[in-house]
């Protein structure tokens, strides 16, 4: 078990280093931030530019800049934003909860909807309910998330005037972004629940539970669902990356002040320290969630460890 743990943690560390290294290198090819900052400032000499570069720390060798940045993980110091000089960690600290809130709310919405629907589909396999759920989930899979967001705005904000179209201001502003991502996730999750349930329902202990005369709902929710919880948690964990990617786009539509909005603004302004830190935080989240899921799975199912 210790060997498995060490191997997985090393793999996770490798991924984070690789992702941040590529991003840090790539972003420095986008152009000179000193030029960008001095735009419209009148006559600027080469000496002024050099001084700006010195102040921003971008005249140091690339590897030194990168190692300074990477060590920031341990001291929680990612430097300052090129725009306005706010410490990057503060910007992240403001945006991260907004993004995480959205991520967990949409996951919650999707799990709450897809478990009963998936079970219904599995129980009525091949019947009309199963096929209806299957068609609806295919349609959900085909929805562009940003268009779904726009259509919800059209319906709930413009036509019905029930919900605010954008921003983060109280619970009502939270509903549409969470529902958008929830619907997109549910489309995949229903199918996952259905497949896992179908596999579990064929086991002998389900037959035994039925033979004992337990009610159908006890058999389904207590015996079958509990046993397919482990593979389901794994799938949900693997989805986390895609979920965050989707949230980044949806945040843009709803003007949600999360990491996605922060990243887009940083790209536009060539604000290296911010973009770098956002990408690193997002990839650490994804790698971290997958690592936890793997470890949990390895603890429960010894066959995984030896693979």
């Amino acid at each position: 078990m210790a060997g498995f743990l060490i191997k997985r943690i090393l793999q996770a560390a490798f991924v984070i280093v690789a992702v941040t290294l590529v991003v840090a290198f790539a972003i420095r090819l986008t152009g000179d931030p000193a030029l960008m900052l001095s735009q419209g400032a009148g006559s600027i000499t080469e000496a002024d530019l050099a001084r700006i570069r010195e102040a921003l720390g971008v005249n140091k060798p690339f590897l030194e800049q990168y190692s300074d940045f990477f060590l920031g993980i341990f001291t929680l110091d990612f430097g300052r934003s090129f725009l306005g000089g706010t410490p990057v960690i503060d910007l992240i600290g403001n945006a991260l909860p907004a993004t995480l809130m959205l991520a967990f709310a949409s996951m919650f919405v999707s799990i709450a909807v897809s478990i009963p629907l998936g079970i219904k589909a599995a129980v009525s396999r091949g019947k009309w309910a199963d096929q209806l759920i299957r068609i609806i989930s295919l349609i959900g899979l085909s929805f562009p998330n940003f268009w779904l967001a726009i259509m919800l705005v059209l319906l709930f904000s413009i036509t019905l005037k029930w919900l605010p179209p954008s921003g983060m201001d109280g619970f009502t502003s939270f509903l549409m972004p969470a529902i958008t991502m929830g619907i997109i996730l549910t489309a995949t999750n229903v199918r996952l629940v259905r497949t896992s349930m179908l596999e579990t329902m064929q086991s002998q202990y389900i037959m035994v539970a039925r033979a004992k005369g337990l009610s159908e709902s006890t058999v389904l929710y207590k015996h079958a669902l509990r046993n397919c919880a482990i593979p389901l948690i794994t799938y949900f964990g693997l989805q986390f990356g895609g979920l965050l990617g989707g949230i980044v786009v949806v945040e843009r539509v709803f003007n949600w002040p999360g990491l996605g909005t922060l990243a887009f603004d940083a790209v536009g302004a060539r604000d290296y320290p911010v973009l770098q830190a956002v990408i690193m935080v997002l990839s650490m989240l994804i790698v971290g969630v997958n690592l936890l899921v793997d470890i949990a799975y390895g603890l429960i199912d010894p066959r995984i460890r030896t693979e």
């Binding site: 690789a18 259509m151 705005v153 990617g245």
Partner: protein, 284 residues
């Protein structure tokens, strides 16, 4: 209900799935193919007098016009051209690289295998949109760059799929006997292994064309993709959003076009998966 009746109903459902998929995908492909004949001006003709005409009110503009008085129907069909181009070319590139890398890494293991698996790890941790934001900031948007980006980020999916199948096939007797009679490696890879693992690859191709159309439109919507001057679904949605208050049709029809195209491809992919794998083991 008997098992036979059930399976007959399932067959009817699968047939319906296939027909719907073919009709949707086919009609989009045909209209894109003949878009030049239907709309010789490419949907670019500006008619300010007829700006923001509501749909179904003017026979010249069945789906209405946008803020510059351009025909929404013409632009939706022209936009399909971009989406199909991106979808097909990006998948073609990724399949060629991915299948070759998958065959090599599964058959020879060792160094190439390690490369593929590490790439797969990194790919899992970096959602496409984030990769796209970073790289498009460097190299700029545009059709070609977007296709390259999709290829770079997706070949690993095919490599992993093929690698997995090769690992389970390479120790089987027909491969061993081919090796024993001295068949060249390149023939073993492409003549003996490839035909035996192509089924799941075809399913992945269908689903990824759909997926890449979605990604292309998201990127263009965010202003990171296709040139805003070229009619594209994502670009039309980005423009139309500003007019959502008083001209819903500018935002509704391009999105509907994406939905129907992607749905058609997903229906076909679903049908293919069940047809190629009758046991239903992979049908998620």
């Amino acid at each position: 209900m008997t098992a036979i009746a059930k399976s007959a109903r399932f067959k009817r459902y699968k047939n319906l799935e296939f027909i719907l998929g073919v009709v949707l995908t086919g009609s989009i492909c045909l209209s894109v193919l003949f878009s030049g004949l239907l709309f010789p001006d490419g949907g670019d003709k500006i008619n300010l007098i007829a700006r923001l005409t509501a749909p179904f009110t003017n026979p010249d503009y069945i789906l209405g016009t946008d803020p510059l008085g351009r025909d929404v129907l013409a632009r939706v069909i022209m936009g399909g051209k971009i989406s199909l181009q991106v979808g097909i070319l990006s998948v073609a590139g990724a399949v060629v690289i991915g299948v070759i890398m998958g065959l090599i890494s599964g058959y020879y293991r060792g160094f190439w295998d390690m490369i593929v698996m590490r790439f797969a790890d990194v790919q899992l941790a970096l959602p496409f949109i984030l990769l796209a934001i970073t790289f498009i900031a460097i190299v700029g948007g545009g059709l070609t760059n977007m296709i390259i980006l999709l290829i770079v980020s997706q070949w690993v999916q095919y490599a992993r799929l093929v690698r997995g199948s090769v690992l389970s096939l390479r120790d089987q007797e027909f491969i061993q006997s081919a090796q024993a009679i001295g068949v060249k490696d390149i023939h073993i890879l492409f003549r003996h292994l490839l035909p035996n693992l192509i089924g799941p690859v075809i399913v992945l191709i269908t689903l990824n064309v759909a997926n890449n159309i979605l990604l292309e439109s998201s990127l263009t919507f965010l202003g990171l993709g296709v040139d805003p001057l070229i009619p594209s679904w994502g670009g039309m949605l980005a423009d139309g959003r500003t007019y959502l208050q008083n001209a819903w049709w500018v935002s509704v029809f391009p999105g509907l076009a994406i939905l129907l195209t992607v749905l058609g491809l997903n229906l076909l992919g679903d049908w293919l998966r069940d047809s190629l794998d009758p046991t239903g083991r992979t049908s998620r």
